[in-house]
Amino acid sequence: MIDHGGLDINHGRKTILGPDRHHQRKQAQLEQSLETAHERVAKKAEAVTAQQAKVAESEAKGHGTRLEQRQGKLVTLEHELQDAKGQHAKLAAHVATLGPAGQRADRDFRKQTIMTIRTLFLENMLRAFMAVLLTALPITVSLEQVLGLLFARRGARMETSSQVVYWVNTAGLSLSNRRLLARIVEGLCAMDLQDQGKPIHVRLKDMPP
């Protein structure tokens, strides 16, 4: 059977309104960066404070070279603190300019849900039909076999006042498939199918193409 979910009739011409997820993602990333930047500023500020204490200690103890080294490092740390603050301010400005979350009209590529419902309903019905057929059959037959051997085949129909007869064309079938189809047809006849009160009989028939 062909892919029976394939009735694709929605070609993206419609649009659906929804939250702007690109904006949401950007905002989430920026907020995370801002938080990291904030932590970095706090860390740097802490390092500067610690270094200032060390410089003060060196000054109190009258260090010479070590004081220079510590003062040099303090300058570096203060620069880093300024950079971190600058980065934080930049990100904060980005967050401010991002604005509130809006809506976005996306092109709708979804298959129409009604068609999916149709497909699922068809599958449910086929499954129920198979369940009934299998109770009437002494063998196990798959849905694919029934679809290929019975549903897709040509045949003929005759309606009399008392019955309806369907003939299934068996031309071109292998012997094993013909036997299998005969079993399926037996099962169908045992299902007590009716059309407007008339019993339905299914028979096999070799017909020219």
Binding site: F151, R157, Y166
Partner: protein, 410 residues
């Protein structure tokens, strides 16, 4: 075969029981019979021509046709056809009503009879009618064709769409270009424009939501299995929207999340954009399914360590059965276990919890340890524990393979 010598009368209600003969088969006999009912005075030569027009070639002599006519009592006297009134009885109610020598997709016709017999479309028509009425009330200014359709029109339109896949039609335009047996199946054919309009109007009245209860009506099992189905959309045009895939390419499409019971009966479907992770929507989705189907135990075929998800399900009083990601455990060593069962194939089933207690983790674990393979760890929320014996968990988890093997929904 009932052989009747002599002519039949109107009161004669014996219907011929066609059976394959050496020269004429059942269908050929039935066709001859029905042609004779239409025109009993028809000469046999003309009868053969008429049969040929219906693409049935009767490779028999006139003499043989005449033999059958005599058998049925439908032979005519020699000479030109006369017009004498009442010479020949026209078919009484017991004979052939109609012969269709060529029917495509015979099985679909039989299936259609089965569906009609079980009134399978009655709930569909009822729901569609209800949706139309609701739309009329909500939008009194609207006026389009669907709002004026009779039930039979709704039924036939839906049936045309319903049978399309079984008739080999995978696009609406193929209703115009492909030979299909809708004429014999429904009594009339359909053009794609009609069905496109029908579909558009169904969408307008939000028929999909109305038809969801039709699916739920078939739900029989206490467990609901949830499957995701990602549908890509491919086009030559560049698309600006969708999931960002490798190399920054953008894939447009959608993901359908389908719920079905343990028998494989689909009960619910919803669509989400492809770039939304399932974990963001699954709790709300399962709540919807639980409201519609009444089942509160869900099985999702994923190997994850989703503690937050498990907690969310637990908070909503829903049950969730999943597998644990292999990277999250080191086999039986990670758990405090008790042997609960040994399966026929030698697989030992253990039940237990984390060896080191983890705060905020409501899950219980079942470990299936096959004889010659790595252990499989299943986890379930307390609701699953209430619903099923722990020895049942591996079976419950493996059950729905039929659905996965069914035809894809592209």
């Amino acid at each position: 075969m009932q052989l009747t010598q002599g002519r039949r009368t109107i009161s004669d209600d014996l219907s011929p029981d066609f059976s394959a003969g050496r020269k004429l088969g059942e269908i050929e006999q039935a066709l001859l019979w029905s042609l004779l009912q239409e025109e009993p005075e028809c000469p046999s030569r003309v009868l053969l021509d008429k049969a040929a027009q219906r693409q049935i070639v009767l490779a028999v002599s006139l003499r043989h046709v005449n033999r059958w006519r005599a058998t049925w009592g439908l032979n005519r006297r020699q000479g030109r056809p006369g017009h004498a009134d009442g010479y020949r009885p026209v078919a009484s109610g017991a004979e052939v009503v109609r012969v269709t020598p060529h029917v495509a997709c015979v099985g679909v016709h039989v299936f259609a009879h089965w569906l009609d017999q079980h009134e399978a479309f009655a709930p569909v028509v009822a729901q569609l009618t209800q949706a139309v009425e609701a739309h009329k009330q909500a939008h009194s200014g609207d006026d389009f064709a669907l709002l004026h359709h009779r039930e039979s029109t709704l039924l036939h339109g839906f049936q045309a769409l319903f049978y399309a896949p079984l008739l080999g039609i995978d696009r609406l335009s193929e209703f115009d270009t492909r030979e299909h047996p809708l004429q014999t199946l429904l009594g009339h054919g359909y053009q794609s424009a009609t069905l496109r309009q029908f579909l558009g109007q169904l969408e307008r009245v939000d028929a999909a939501a109305s038809l969801m209860p039709v699916l739920v009506a078939d739900c029989t099992g206490p467990i609901i299995y949830v499957d995701g189905h990602m549908i890509a959309y491919w086009s030559r045009r560049s698309m600006h929207k969708g999931k960002i895939t490798m190399l920054g390419r953008i894939m447009a499409g959608s993901q359908a999340v389908i719920a079905h019971d343990d028998a494989g009966q689909a009960v619910f479907v919803a669509y989400y954009p492809p770039d939304i992770h399932m974990s963001q929507v699954i709790v709300a989705y399962c709540q919807q399914v639980a409201e519609a189907a009444g089942s509160v135990v869900f099985v999702i075929d994923r190997a994850v360590n989703a503690v937050a998800l498990a907690q969310a399900f637990h908070d909503q009083e829903l049950g969730l059965l999943c597998m644990l990601d292999d990277n999250e455990h080191a086999g039986l060593e990670s758990f405090e276990t008790t042997l609960v069962d040994t399966l026929e194939d030698g697989t030992r089933v253990y039940s237990g919890a984390w060896k080191e207690e983890r705060a905020g983790d409501p899950r219980h674990f079942v470990i299936a340890e096959p004889t010659a393979a790595k252990p499989l760890v299943y986890w379930g929320t307390p609701k699953v524990e209430e619903a099923f014996e722990v020895t049942e968990w591996p079976r419950v988890y493996r059950e729905p393979t039929r659905f996965r093997n069914s035809a894809s929904r592209g």
